[in-house]
């Protein structure tokens, strides 16, 4: 949970005060809602607020919204807007808000929740009651209520970002709009739940909580396995770098550059994740290359060079063992990553990893030669685009790096260890100490 920003203090006070003011006004006008419904629904909202399920990057699913919509239906039957407001404000109660730096989110979200659901309840209140009539009509009444909720919630959130001054309203709106697709089904679901509550009592509502609790538990297990996987790959990278100190940080940088290209090419998150793993593990076969060869200070003999090149085949063999990396395992084999315009079915990921690998090899200092400048590396990538490298990937990488304003290569290296490395030509980005006449024949590769 991010710390509560100081800029939002007065905004939060204002929103919370309006919400409390509205509740006091409603309490005077309507009286208090029935304790039974309030207790059951408040309990369910509190429980469901703790049951966030992360569907994919940034997308959270919670039954809380549905339970709040159900509360609107239930309390309309009692003609109590206050009941709905009180219950819905509890959606803000999450343990993560109780830390010293984040407690400010509690009144902020309680205020936003209370006012947004009040708007939904007011709109729903103007529509003819349909708790016992046609199911379709009843489902349709959820739609204007959901829109009222979204309108107020988004307006308040938009305003808060403007007050905070960290994001433009366009960025915020861009982030909020997709969540609309999730609000609508949950609003409809919530309305149906409310109807079931009124008809059959609160026990039925537990039936919906059970599968969501289970989904949450499975997601927690999934996140744990994913972390374990990341840690294991991290260990593998450390083992590789312990063997070959000349390529310190290489795998992570290649993974970063590959991600840049993937993002430029609008890859979906799952595909980006596969690409990241393939890039991180593209040199996994080096594990089988004797340390003495990887760290040999002088030139490699042709036999030794051939021995070292075996690592590419081993990488392919090892990566092919992992289902989700099998289609892109060829990324580790330079024989299969050379751009072939006549093979439109060739997956693009191996080309991406090859370009990321080549760019990092050129812009990193190795024991046998100094890093090239970024301009030279860009020129080399563009010169070989369409021949050796996939042209779209080359342009995507260059565009991504330029847009980020990043500088790599000679003069911009963070961890260059080899101060005495000699200046050498383009082709020397490859393994070992290559002669100049070999440079033109050998592709840049780590």
């Amino acid at each position: 949970m991010s710390p509560f920003p100081r800029q939002l203090r007065w905004f939060t006070v204002a929103v919370f005060a309006v919400a409390v003011g509205a509740e006091l006004f409603l309490a005077r006008r309507e009286g208090l809602p029935s304790a039974g419904a309030l207790a059951v629904l408040a309990g369910l909202v509190l429980l469901s607020a703790q049951m966030l399920v992360r569907l994919r990057d940034g997308v959270l699913l919670s039954p809380g919204l549905g339970v709040c919509m159900a509360a609107i239906v239930v309390f309309r039957d009692e003609q109590s807007l206050l009941g709905a407001m009180l219950v819905c404000s509890l959606l803000a109660v999450r343990p993560s808000y109780f830390s010293k730096a984040s407690w400010g989110w509690l009144p902020f979200n309680a205020g936003v929740s209370a006012l947004s659901f009040l708007a939904a309840a007011l709109v729903y209140g103007t529509l003819p009651s349909a708790t016992t009539g046609s199911a379709l009509y009843f489902v349709l009444t959820a739609i204007p209520a959901a829109f009222a909720y979204m309108l107020v919630a988004w307006a308040l959130l938009l305003l808060s970002y403007v007050v905070e001054g960290t994001s433009s309203w366009r960025e915020v709106l861009g982030g909020l709009l997709p969540s609309g697709a999730e609000v609508l089904p949950f609003a409809v679901l919530g309305f149906l739940l409310g109807r079931l509550y009124l008809s059959l009592g609160p026990a039925v509502m537990l039936l919906i909580i059970v599968p969501i609790l289970i989904a949450r538990e499975m997601f927690a297990s999934y996140m744990r396995v994913k972390e374990s996987h990341d840690e294991t790959v991290g260990m593998l990278i450390r083992a590789l770098e312990a063997k070959d100190r000349y390529t310190s940080g290489h795998s992570e940088r290649v993974a970063d550059y590959a991600r840049y290209v993937g993002e430029e090419l609008n890859f979906m998150p799952a595909r980006l994740e596969r690409l990241r793993f393939a890039a991180l593990m593209h040199d996994i076969g080096k594990l089988v290359v004797p340390n003495q060869l990887l760290n040999k200070p002088g030139r490699l003999t042709p036999e030794e060079f051939a021995h070292v090149r075996v690592h590419e085949k081993v990488s392919v063999q090892m990566l092919s063992h992992i289902d989700f990396l099998r289609p892109i395992a060829a990324a580790s084999d330079s024989d299969h990553t050379r751009f072939d315009p006549d093979d439109p079915d060739h997956p693009i990921e191996p080309y991406i990893v090859m370009i990321a690998d080549a760019y990092d090899a050129m812009t990193s200092t190795r024991a046998y030669r100094k890093a090239l400048s970024q301009d030279v590396a860009f020129r080399e990538l563009r010169d070989k685009a369409g021949i050796q490298f996939h042209p779209a990937c080359v342009e995507a990488l260059i565009h991504a790096i330029e847009q980020r304003g990043e500088k790599h290569g000679d003069g911009f290296e963070r961890d260059a260890e080899f101060d005495n490395a000699p200046v050498a030509g383009l082709g020397s980005a490859g393994l070992g100490d290559l002669l100049e006449n070999e440079a033109s024949e050998t592709s840049p590769s780590s």
């Binding site: 149906l192 079931l196 039925v204 003495q292 289902d323």
Partner: protein, 384 residues
């Protein structure tokens, strides 16, 4: 055809068929029956995958809806029709026998669901009140569990009732009950028709999504470990297949020794990775090969840097105090030595065990050696 395409196909065809049924049989409920039959087919394509690679289909939730609201004839038509379509849609990589077995199992579960619902409904006096309706629905869901587990054991389908399996059952049962309540209501109250199963399946679909992600992640992690285990073999440092054989042998020994599931899992990881550290060592200059003690120490240290593999690292390094886990350490070492003798030195199995026993450096707990002998004996009898 990919699963996604099959799902889309079923949705489209189900929608078309249901709409046609709506106009053909305006007064009846043929449209709902068609939609729910399509839901059954869809539920056969989407299943909650369990740890042992078996799976529970979401169609069981739809069966509860059908059993609670339709006549036996309608129920039978919907179930048989949906199962026949499912046979066609199942991937062709399954054998004909397997598909037939699944068909029989599903029909048995469907029959049990209907019988249990109707039986409980009559027993509870056919009272249109919340408690009896929920009771009858719970009986239907319970019967599914009973028949599925029995059929799985009978046909060796491998469905399990371990931790993840229990949660999967609970998710399907509670969702099926909710979907049925939404469809039929109680005494007319709360009835929302076909919208009920449609919308109340949302939490179950969220659970399915979570199960899918977990299954994928678990499989990928396991494969990454296996790929790492291959490194020393591909580098010619150990005989091909050593890690896999030692893992199989050591885990079987662990089970014989009565180790907990967690300990057996850690032992398996340790066995798969027990030579990994060798790839980081400098190649020996003479023919003697890497120092085993150094390999053990380096591998143990590497794995202890990774939270989920700390226990495996401790087993490899032999750094454990718990008596049960000490057995795991010994099982790993004995399995590895046994494999060295049989696979690398071509010593016959019984002689290998004897030579391990009579070696001057014999240090194994007798229980561990007995476990090895039992596992080897079981293998021989299974081979016959």
């Amino acid at each position: 055809m990919t699963r996604r395409n099959r799902v889309v196909l079923v949705c489209v065809l189900g929608l078309v068929a249901g709409t046609v049924a709506h106009f053909v049989d305006r007064a009846g409920h043929a449209d709902a029956l068609t939609f729910l039959a399509a839901g059954l087919v869809l539920g056969e394509l989407l299943a909650l995958r369990l740890e042992d690679r078996s799976a529970l289909p979401l169609s069981y939730a739809v069966l509860v809806v059908l059993a609670s609201s339709f006549s036996l004839r309608e129920y039978a038509i919907a179930v048989l029709g949906a199962q026949l379509v499912s046979i066609l849609l199942r991937t062709t990589d399954h054998s004909r026998t397997w598909r037939l077995t699944i068909f029989v199992e599903r029909v048995a579960v469907a029959a049990a669901t209907y019988a249990a619902y109707q039986g409980a409904w009559h027993l509870l006096g056919r009272r249109e009140q919340v408690a009896p309706v929920l009771g009858a629905l719970a009986a239907a869901a319970g019967a599914q569990l009973l028949v599925d587990v029995s059929a799985s054991r009978l046909f060796r389908l491998g469905a399990s009732f371990e931790a993840r399996g229990r949660l999967a059952w609970l998710a399907i049962a509670s969702s099926g009950m909710l979907m049925a309540i939404g469809y039929r209501g109680v005494n007319g109250d709360g009835r929302v028709g076909i919208w009920g199963p449609l919308l109340f399946s949302t939490p179950l679909l969220a659970a399915w999504y979570a199960f899918e992600r977990l299954d994928e992640a678990t499989r990928s992690y396991r494969q990454t470990i296996e790929a790492l285990a291959m490194a020393p073999e591909l580098g010619g440092m150990v005989p091909p297949g050593h890690a896999e054989r030692v893992a199989t042998l050591a885990t079987a020994m662990g089970e014989q020794l009565g180790l907990s599931d967690t300990d057996v899992r850690d032992l398996e990881m340790a066995a798969l990775l027990h030579h990994l550290g060798q790839v980081t060592l400098d190649e020996p200059v003479d023919e003697r090969g890497a120092d085993p003690a150094e390999v053990t120490a380096v591998t143990g240290a590497m794995l202890r840097e990774i939270r989920p593999l700390v226990a495996a690292g401790e087993i490899i390094a032999g750094d454990v105090d718990d008596p049960k886990r000490r057995l795991a350490v010994q099982a790993l070492r004995l399995a590895s030595e046994y494999d060295d003798l049989t696979a690398r030195d071509n010593v016959p199995g019984d002689l290998a065990v004897e030579s391990l026993r009579s070696a001057p450096s014999y240090v194994y707990d007798e229980r561990v050696v007995v476990a090895l002998e039992r596992v080897l004996r079981d293998r021989i009898s299974a081979g016959r």
